[in-house]
Amino acid sequence: MDRRALFFFGAALLCLALVPLTPDTYRYVGVVMLIWLTVLGLLSHLDYRSRLR
C-alpha cells in the first residue's frame, strides 16, 4: 500500500482517538478531521494504484 495513504489513515486514527477526549463544543473539529484525512488517504491510495497501471 502507498506510504502516503498509510500516513493519512494513521493521522485519521489519531483523530478518531481524540474525538471522545475533545470537549463537546469542539467535537465537530475532530469529526471533520477524521473524515477529511480518511478521504485524503483514499484518494492518495487511488492515485498510487492508477500510477501502477
Binding site: 502516503r4 500516513f7 493521522a11 489519531l14 481524540l18 475533545t22 470537549p23 469542539y26 484525512l37 485524503l40
Partner: protein, 331 residues
C-alpha cells in the same frame, strides 16, 4: 514590595514574548527570503509589522483562556504566576541545551498547571480548559497539514497547464507577501495573547483586575510590541529556516503552507485556543512536502514535533512545581 514583584514578573513575561518573536520570526519569513521576494531585513520588518497590528484584528480570547481557563483564578498569586513563567522558560532553556524538542506555548500552559498544582493540588486545574488545549496541540498541525496538502493539490491542478510557468512563478512570489503577512498576523495574535494571559493572571492575582475583566490596553500593546521587537531583531540572524529544514519550498508551496497555517491560527485565535504556531506551520509545510512526495519531507523534524507533544506540558509542569516549592521555602 508587591509592586516591585509585580513589575518584575511583567518584565519576565514580556521578555518571554520577545524571545518568542526572536525565535519564531523564521517561521513566517523563511519562504519569502528563500525565494528572494524580500531581502532578510525587509522580510523581518514586514513580519514584525503584522505581528504588531494583530492587536487591532483579533480579540483577547486566548489571553482569557490562559489567565482564567487553565487554572482556577482563586489560586492565582504572584508566586504561582512567577513559578509558571520560570517553569516554562527553564524548560525551554533545558530542552534547548539537551537538544530536545519543545514548544513555548505548551511550556507556558504546563508551567501554569504545575505551579497551581504545587500550591493547591489537582482540583485547582480546570480540566475542561486543559482538555481543549491538549487536543488542539494535536489538531492544529493536523489541520494545517490537511489544509496545505489539499490546497497545494488544487492549486497545482489549476496551474499545471499554464502556458507561461515563469508568469505563474512570479504571481506566487507576489502572493507570498500576502501569505507571510497573514501568518505573521496569526502568529502575533496567538503568541502575543499568551503573554497577555500571563499578565492578566498577574493582575487578577494582585487584585488589580477582576476575573472577568478585559485585558487592559497597555498589556495588549506591550505584548504585541515585545513580540514584534523580537521578530525585528531575531529574524535576520536565523539562517537555518523552517522552509529549508523541513522540505524545499517553491513560491507556490510557500503560499499554500503559510495561508493554510494562517487560517488555522485565525480559527483558534477567534475561538480562544492557544496553540503552537511553530507546530502549525510545521504541519502545513509537511502537508505541502508530502503532496510532492513523502520522501521530500525531512521526517526527523516532524518527529520532534510529536515528541514535543508528549514531553513539554508534563516537563514544564514539573519544573514550575519545583520552582513554586522553592519560592515557598524561601519566602
Amino acid at each position: 514590595m508587591e509592586d516591585v514583584l509585580f513589575w518584575l514578573v511583567v518584565a519576565v513575561a514580556l521578555a518571554f514574548d520577545f524571545v518568542n518573536g526572536f525565535h519564531d520570526a523564521a517561521n513566517s519569513i523563511a519562504t519569502v527570503v528563500a525565494t528572494r521576494v524580500l531581502k532578510p531585513f525587509q522580510a523581518v520588518v514586514w513580519a514584525a509589522t503584522f505581528n504588531f497590528i494583530a492587536f487591532a484584528v483579533f480579540g483577547t480570547k486566548v489571553a482569557a483562556t490562559i489567565a482564567t481557563g487553565v487554572v482556577d483564578p482563586d489560586v492565582l498569586t504572584i508566586g504561582v504566576v512567577f513559578a509558571g513563567l520560570i517553569g516554562a522558560i527553564a524548560w525551554n532553556v533545558l530542552t534547548a541545551w539537551l537538544g530536545l524538542p519543545s514548544s513555548s506555548s505548551h511550556a507556558l500552559v504546563g508551567g501554569m498547571v504545575g505551579a497551581a498544582v504545587a500550591k493547591a493540588g489537582w482540583d485547582s486545574v480546570i480540566k475542561e480548559g486543559l482538555r481543549k488545549i491538549g487536543v488542539f496541540i494535536v489538531y492544529s498541525p493536523l489541520i494545517g497539514l490537511a489544509l496545505a496538502f489539499s490546497l497545494f493539490v488544487i492549486v497545482s491542478w489549476i496551474v499545471h497547464r499554464a502556458r507561461q510557468p515563469r508568469r505563474v512563478n512570479r504571481t506566487f512570489r507576489v502572493l507570498q507577501l500576502g501569505s507571510a503577512a497573514a501568518f505573521s498576523l496569526g502568529h502575533g495574535a496567538n503568541d502575543a495573547q499568551k503573554t497577555m494571559g500571563v499578565i492578566l493572571a498577574l493582575l487578577i492575582a494582585t487584585g488589580r483586575a477582576t476575573e472577568h475583566a478585559e485585558v487592559p490596553l497597555w498589556v495588549v500593546l506591550s505584548a504585541h510590541a515585545s513580540i514584534a521587537l523580537g521578530t525585528l531583531l531575531g529574524g535576520w540572524r536565523i539562517v537555518r529556516t523552517m522552509g529549508t529544514r523541513l522540505t524545499h519550498l517553491q513560491p507556490m508551496g510557500g503560499v499554500c503552507a503559510e495561508s493554510s497555517a494562517a487560517s488555522v491560527l485565525f480559527f483558534v485565535s477567534a475561538k480562544g485556543i492557544p496553540v503552537s504556531t511553530t507546530h502549525t506551520i510545521t504541519g502545513a509545510i509537511v502537508g505541502v512536502g508530502s503532496a510532492r512526495r513523502l520522501s521530500a519531507v525531512r521526517w526527523g523534524v516532524a518527529r520532534r514535533v510529536v515528541w514535543a507533544w508528549v514531553l513539554t506540558i508534563p516537563g514544564a509542569a514539573a519544573v514550575a512545581a519545583l520552582t513554586y516549592w522553592i519560592i515557598s521555602l524561601v519566602s
